[in-house]
Symmetry: C2
Subunit: 720 residues, 2 copies
């Protein structure tokens, strides 16, 4: 909770000043020692030996020099200006050291040292003091409790981290809330020849957060794609806003990929014991990430596979893929993986088929996946690739090669690169899977040198193509505005602003919904059987009786709902029976009354809901209702307020959509009326921050043109 409240209670930090972290002219490392193999030593040496293009000063009290470089007792002793401070002192010393940095006029700091929030309340206090010093001194701060930062730009070459080697320069920026993951990722990426533009260990995020870094990297010409590993999210709304702007910038889209650690309950528990961070549930995070254009991944492999494709330009234009292979089996496996992921096999034009037929032997398969046959050499691959590149029905192209005895691997690799160059202006993407390892290594090297994304297994390529296609679809989405529907806000406020925290009475909740234009069936709150019969006569039979009582939350448990009463007689009997039964559970004065309403005819049951997420605020939910909610968890989430197009999208992305469209000749349900209800619900939650939970379950949906009706409603209020 602390993370969030601290961040939101102050003005959001601006990304200004981050240049002093990534492109400093001079650095002081505070707390350097002479002991090889320790962080306080290695970080200084790393900056030095990876050939930082600037000056680096060791601050090491009572030392004359560190590995031959003149050392200083205090940062204030350094005779030249210092732009960036890297602190490796023990945590307890950091406050004083940082104060001296302020005196020295240092612009930014990276605190590597541990001993802060992660060790408990005393550490959190220390972290808050350090943060205050930096804020007051106008310094930006990365960490504490982090691994450091890396910038591979040739004009800078900064490795202020305890990573042993500088990674290759590349177009991928990586942010990680787990320092240990950084070391593993650097090593993993090196083995796959994946380069980075910037590499940042976020640590405790006392000042600089993932949002600041996203905004900085958005402007970074070296970065084409941004990867994040997050365990907590400081400010969900800011993250979403930044992501939408950066990933959704149509003139210069920068894809953002993220892993949210702590997906499962057990994972979240592990995350909490690790950083004390809040974990948002997997479904909520999925909804939010999708809404913001963030490509959510579940493993490093998925993330780097997709990043390799997306760090190329342009962003692939769609989901229709062509496969060119010299082996049937891998072609089948790639097709299986692609289709399961939601990609489509492109349907070739007659022209393409004719081109393939002319170029390939009789035994070749001219349909997609194109099988150029095991003895194919570069001519067949070249001709096939040329043909599919020309086909307008193809968005992404996967080349599969297995090393057979006639396969001239390096020549084919070169041909693939030539084709890529020939179609440099195309918006199609080209990926390769040269399967194997040693035999195909020289071919892979050629591909990687020429910027062709390569995957050992075609399944990985399929996974990357799918994520790219998803992103393209999001990028091309229709961006609509937030609609404001005409509602009786004051009527709802009269109830919601007055009611205490806790559940509203059903009669009040219905009035709120009515004020906001929901399809509520008129109901009358009655006190006697006679009143109930009179109300039923007016409502028309069959009717429903529902108890209203502040003491009763679950009506069914106390037989507080009776359905399908067909005449006055039945109403009278049911009324008496319900009252008698209720009085066994609650006192007479606790029964506010019994609602009488016309019974809603059968229809499809869905659920609409709102809950207030600690990270993201009000979330809107749509899903299949009734007893199916818990079994199938067929629900989807969006942040409130939703845009006009989101209501339809929420419905379409559930499996319930198939039911609503009508299966087996059933008439389609009234989907527009559900969309309308979702928009109204979004507006209601947005207008009243005190709504903590709201469930319309079920909303009964009738055939097209006949609308829907609220069958049950529950609203809980709580001061945010």
């Amino acid at each position: 909770m602390t993370t969030q409240s601290t961040s939101t209670s102050q003005a959001p930090a601006s990304p200004d000043g981050l240049d002093s972290i990534f492109r400093p002219k001079s650095i002081a490392v505070l707390g350097v020692t002479n002991t090889l193999g320790t962080v306080p030593h290695d970080i200084f040496v790393n900056i030095l030996t990876t050939r930082f293009n600037g000056v680096v000063y060791p601050v090491a009290p009572r030392k004359r020099h560190i590995v031959g470089v003149r050392a200083y007792n205090y940062v204030t002793e350094i005779p030249d200006p210092v732009e960036l401070a890297v602190l490796v002192f023990p945590g307890a010393v950091c406050e004083k050291a940082l104060q001296q940095c302020v005196e020295k006029g240092v612009r930014a700091a990276v605190i590597i040292s541990a001993g802060f929030r992660e060790i408990g309340p005393a550490g959190l206090e220390r972290e808050n003091r350090v943060k205050a010093i930096a804020r007051e001194g106008g310094m930006r701060l990365i960490g504490p409790n982090c691994l450091g930062v890396i910038n591979t730009e040739p004009e800078v070459r900064l490795n202020a981290s305890f990573a042993r080697a500088m990674p290759d320069a590349g177009r991928i920026a990586f942010l990680s809330q787990s320092g240990a993951l950084c070391t593993a990722v650097l090593d993993y990426a090196a083995s796959k020849h994946i380069g980075f533009s910037k590499f940042v260990s976020l640590g405790n995020k006392a000042d600089v957060s993932e949002v600041d870094l996203l905004r900085y990297l958005a402007e970074d010409p070296e970065t084409s794609v941004i990867l994040m590993y997050l365990e907590s999210i400081n400010n969900g709304r800011e993250l979403m806003k930044a992501a939408r702007e950066i990933a959704g910038n149509r003139s210069n889209p920068k894809p953002i990929l993220a892993i949210k650690g702590g997906r499962t309950a057990a994972g979240a528990a592990a995350a909490q014991s690790h950083t004390g961070a809040l974990a948002a549930s997997a479904e909520v995070c999925d909804g939010v990430f999708e809404q913001s254009g963030i490509i959510r991944c579940q493993s490093l492999e998925e993330m780097f596979n997709a990043a390799q494709l997306l760090s190329q330009r342009p962003v692939p234009r769609g989901s229709r893929i062509a496969i060119v292979t010299n082996a049937g089996g891998p072609g089948v496996m790639a097709t299986d993986a692609a289709i399961s992921n939601g990609l489509d096999l492109a349907q070739f034009s007659d022209e393409t088929t004719a081109l393939l037929k002319a170029a390939l032997p009789a035994a070749a398969n001219l349909k997609n996946p194109v099988d150029v046959i095991g003895d194919a050499r570069e001519d067949r691959y070249g001709a096939a690739l040329d043909a599919v590149f020309k086909d307008d029905a193809v968005d992404q192209i996967l080349v599969i090669l297995t090393p057979q005895s006639m396969t001239n691997i390096t020549t084919i690799a070169q041909t693939v690169c030539d084709i890529k160059d020939r179609y440099a202006d195309s918006d199609k993407s080209l990926l390769c899977s040269f399967m194997g390892a040693k035999d195909v290594a020289p071919g892979i090297e050629i591909l990687q040198r020429n910027g062709v994304p390569h995957y050992i297994l075609p399944e990985w390529a399929a996974d990357a193509m799918w994520r790219a296609a998803w992103y393209r679809q999001w990028l091309n989405r229709e961006v609509t505005q937030i609609e404001t529907l005409p509602v009786h806000r004051e009527r709802a406020a009269a109830i919601l602003d007055k009611a205490p925290d806790g559940y509203l009475l059903e009669s009040q909740a219905l009035e709120v919904l009515e004020a906001y234009g929901f399809p509520v069936v008129p109901s009358v709150l009655t006190q006697t059987a006679d009143e109930a019969v009179a109300a039923a006569d007016r409502a028309g039979y069959p009717v429903v009786l529902r108890v209203v009582s502040p003491k009763i939350i679950h009506k069914i448990d106390v037989k507080g709902v009776i359905l399908n009463l067909k005449n006055a007689d039945e109403v009278r009997k049911a009324y008496g029976a319900m009252r008698d039964n209720l009085l066994q559970h609650v006192k007479a004065e606790d029964v506010t009354g019994i609602l009488v309403r016309h019974m809603i005819p059968a229809g499809k049951e869905i659920i609409l809901g709102v809950n207030r997420d600690p990270t993201f605020g009000h979330m809107l939910m749509f899903g299949l209702g009734g007893i199916f909610v818990e079994t199938f968890k067929d629900v989807t989430f969006r942040i409130v307020p939703i845009r006009a197009s989101a209501a339809g999208k929420m419905i379409r992305e559930t499996r319930a959509y198939a039911l609503l469209k009508g299966v087996r000749g059933e008439p389609p349900s009234d989907i527009p009326s559900i969309e309308d209800a979702l928009k109204r619900l979004s507006q209601l939650a947005h207008d009243f921050p005190r709504i903590a939970e709201l469930d319309i379950n079920p909303l009964i949906v009738h055939p097209q043109g006949e609308g829907c009706h609220v069958a049950d409603i529950r609203i809980r209020l709580e001061q945010p």
Copy 2:
């Protein structure tokens, strides 16, 4: 179809004689040339240069010698006995060459040559002729159209393939129906130091099939785990039988892992254009593989990850895992992956927690996942592993290491191996993920040399642990017998044996079900409204009317079903209305009558079904019924006849099970009555091979103790 019918029309081939393929004393390669880089040349040279422990003779008409070895014009010219022939002649020459092999007394052949079934009808004929020659000559045959076979046993060292290098010896056998995949797999496995016992390219499977090889490998002391890539299955029943015996042999279980290429419709189409093989649908194959204990994988990565773990002994004992890590983030990611896969985090005993507390620093996380903290060295890893190995609640242990500056990687690796040795008698498994590449490489090498399965990413380890846990659960399953329930077989036969191909009338289908003891509601076939009213009076209201007509398959489309008729008057009116309406669709003489029955009260709707799969025969299906079948595809399949315990398992493995158990305080449904119906359905299908399709949809299930009722039935007959 050809594949299947050819195999089943003859006696199944026995695995005898396969020793001549894998362990021949002498080999003739028929069709060798002197052209480097071609199959006919390379295969001979591969056998020679990978140091085959026997004699190899080149047969190369009109050549004196091949790479210095004396050549022969015909196999019959060879002065010594020849045990195995490897044919690399063009397809057209193979018949004659094989005939000569028979004359020579050769025991077995591997036909590498293409030009058979895969090129069309002429090729298929040639393949059948070749097969006949082999059968008549008493020879076993691998291929044609394959890459060859490999046996790494030191006493044999046979590389009769066009793979460039001999793989390492290991405990994994690999069978592949895609030759090209073989080359890629060998190269991929080499880079991960994965060794093989046997390696077989199946080709067109004219004689030796996957079943023969499974039975051979079951007896092979070099093989601990069997991997298969299949695109078609020759004889589904035989495959299942063999798999159950081998994977289910409790005294010496050999896990079988398989990828079935052609999972998706598009994948299956690709598979068909490739080998002309039949593809079974993904759901059917999943059910069959699960039933037989085959661990189904979808990618090579999944398969080899699991194989590395399962090639160790013993098979891991369960799904409760412990994680020991020096980094929080990867611990969180591993936990997420494990839980999503269905593994459980072990709950440590107090003793374990005390041991961990004594050995680890204050900042360590003593709960699972155990975080030994970034500066951990071998002592902490050793103590933590020792503690979790002793805990009875732990089944599998994952060690995660990230290379931080204090991490002594190789020493920790050695400690892990020592612990493994110390607990050599334990039935727990130990896996490692040393994350990264270059930095951790020396540590990984130590692990691999000592037989500790290693995975670069902890998510992969989690995937392997999950598959191993699944297999353990299958291995420990209760094995029950097939029950034979008392039924009126003759009564059903009187209808089923007489009826023509096509749909049975509903009245007949109901009689069949009744004969087999299904809960059928008594119904009366009526010809007039008076008869209907009389029947309704006897049945008790409300009643249902249902048309019976050989011309009407979909009753709903012609309003041929009317529900919920509450009295004689309503029945009379409805009867007239239905008749009038029907006569707009069919002639009066085509209406057999109108069924009258008491209306089944509401309940949970499920579907039971039978279909006849071309590969596996009769399959039994269970799932959520009504309009949800198509939307959620929440169904499961088993081969007919099922064993006693299978009915319950089928129900429990669907999500519908949660609904049947009762959600939100609903009473549980009568699950035993569904189990009974499943057993009866299995027996019915087994007794009557002509049943091609059968749907009970819905079966309406009432609360526990109140049984279930067949609400609709459709049976289609067709000669198999």
